[in-house]
Symmetry: C2
Subunit: 152 residues, 2 copies
């Protein structure tokens, strides 16, 4: 098929529809420096279609519990309106690979634990792989301080 009528620059409303988020969310992301736009003479936002990719990444990251602050950090390594090079990805990706793998491991441990516990009734924390504070769980922060940066 021929190239469809997919314009390269989108209004905020189009972006919102395509990205599946609210317009206000895009405003917010922009204010937070996560995405970028330029303005029409009428002061309306225009987004490069590539920004959709960024929104996608942001949404997935949030879903898996990565705070915007960290998403921004990672995205700041990527050019926002230009083509992303292999080097760009490599750099940004390296930071996240590790993070994502950890989360996957955590999830798998939780899922696996549920399987495991069906048959064993292991209720002591000492031998429960799910709750091993010397491992990834505690490494993420032994406090409840998910919203604070004070943990190191």
């Amino acid at each position: 098929m021929a190239t469809k009528a997919v314009p390269n620059d989108l209004s905020v409303g189009e972006m919102a529809k395509r990205a599946g988020v609210a317009v206000s969310t895009l405003h917010y992301y922009e204010a937070e420096g996560l995405i970028e736009s330029w303005r029409t003479p009428a002061n309306h936002r225009r987004y490069d279609r590539r920004q959709l990719r960024r929104v996608a990444i942001i949404r997935v990251a949030l879903q898996v519990g990565i705070p915007l602050r960290e998403v921004r950090e990672m995205l700041s390594g990527l050019p926002s309106g230009r083509a992303v090079t292999a080097a760009d990805w490599a750099k940004a990706g390296a930071i996240w690979q590790d993070r994502l793998r950890r989360r996957i491991a955590l999830l798998e441990r939780l899922a696996g634990q549920m399987d495991h516990c069906i048959g064993c009734g292991c209720l002591s924390l000492e031998n429960c792989p799910l709750y091993n504070r010397n491992d990834a769980l505690g490494a993420e922060g032994p406090g409840a301080r998910r919203w604070e940066e004070a943990q190191d």
Copy 2:
């Protein structure tokens, strides 16, 4: 080894220390109906050691982005101060297995995508598996919502 000096019922402070959360967090979880305690004559909370397991589950779940409301729902299927039976776990686990697997898949897609993008520079949304509207992402046309949260 002989049974260590691990009492079966813990004070809120002990729980907090062992679970790696703040005392206030335990108060909060209790107020929210996620964990249970009884009181000493002095009105101090006492927790069955098994409650630690619950806290562990709660923490892991939160880390991977599952809201407390859903954790409570799942935990409500488990007896709080008694031994958990295979049937209990099976029931509770079944609900989460699916949810967890989905999240894992999402993460893996993101992680995998980053690998992929390092070498290919695929920046068009049309052929990006992460943001593929023909895939799970935008099967609905205008809304990419289902990709993010619509699980049904």
